[in-house]
């Protein structure tokens, strides 16, 4: 038995035709985050520190749907959520409805360590963030052109969808995974 680590950047209807300029930065980000996690484990950091460290890196990457790359609500705003759990103590912390906190996962950890609760949401979570002095920015920091476009497509298709859903093109049948999956989910 030795150390192990696994991370993800989201699952969905990721098209096989993902162009290289969109695939390469995501694979590079996965490789970089894996290296950070492996180095922390090799340095005997506790797993709770390791998972927080890696998820912070993934939150700071605009290519994945968390933190900087968060997708948008129907109002064009961001409402981020995160959760962290320690296997030994089964202590855990969760947050929802964040719109200004740079790293939601770190606020979730503070809920676990600094409050008698497990889960804080919306105004209460934002107020706790201010009280704890975690890094906050203007809500516009999280809004990327890519996600504005994604919201536009979803509204046109009148769909609520996961980040990787292919736009419906009039002249070209959609690359569907019907029979292999539900193309409603991306």
């Amino acid at each position: 038995m030795g150390w192990s680590i696994a991370l993800h950047g989201g699952a969905g209807d990721i098209p096989y035709s993902l162009p290289p300029e969109r695939r390469a930065p995501r694979e590079a980000a996965l490789r970089q985050c894996l290296a950070i996690g492996v180095a922390a484990l090799k340095a005997s950091r506790p797993p709770l520190d390791v998972v927080e460290l890696v998820v912070r890196e993934l939150e700071n990457c605009p290519h994945f749907n968390a933190g900087k790359g968060s997708v948008l609500t129907t109002d064009g705003t961001v409402e981020m959520e995160a959760c962290i759990m320690d296997g030994n103590t089964q202590k855990c912390g969760a947050v929802s409805g964040l719109s200004t906190v740079v790293n939601a996962i770190s606020l979730a950890r503070l809920v676990m360590e600094k409050t008698p609760h497990i889960y804080l949401a919306f105004d209460g979570a934002e107020a706790f963030a201010r009280e704890q002095g975690v890094e906050t920015v203007d809500a516009n920091h999280f809004i990327t052109p890519e996600n504005v476009e994604r919201l536009k497509q979803a509204k046109e298709a009148n769909r609520v969808q996961i980040d990787y859903t292919q736009p419906v093109k009039e002249d070209k049948p959609q690359e569907t995974s019907s029979g292999k999956g539900d193309s409603q989910i991306g």
Binding site: G67, V71, A82
Partner: protein
Amino acid sequence: TVGCVAVDGSGNLAAATSTGGLVNKMVGRIGDTPVIGAGTYANSFCAVSATGKGESIIRATIARDVAALMEYKGLSLREAAAYVVNNVPRGNVGLVAVSAKGEVTMPFNTRGMFRACATEDGYSEIGIWPSE
């Protein structure tokens, strides 16, 4: 959604997940990520971080079910995770998980999942689609 699970050489486990949710979601909608036992869970058997359609993941209590199958049925991490993922409608879920013994698994029933893993005995993987 993004997530990470880790186990150290002594079998200590932890899980973490973070997300912006669904595109075009209603304001105030809560997904699976912050719901303990749905999108994120860890105990002394395993640590799990799930991703996909939150409503399906909550209904199936994905993360806790993986741990419960290991605890109550004695399944391995790989068997437990495969069983849980295969019992959710196709196209809805993926997860990453590690066990106290250092096992790692990354099953998904969507077309793809951005994923990466490494173990102390030298195995590592970075992928998007199943065939890789």
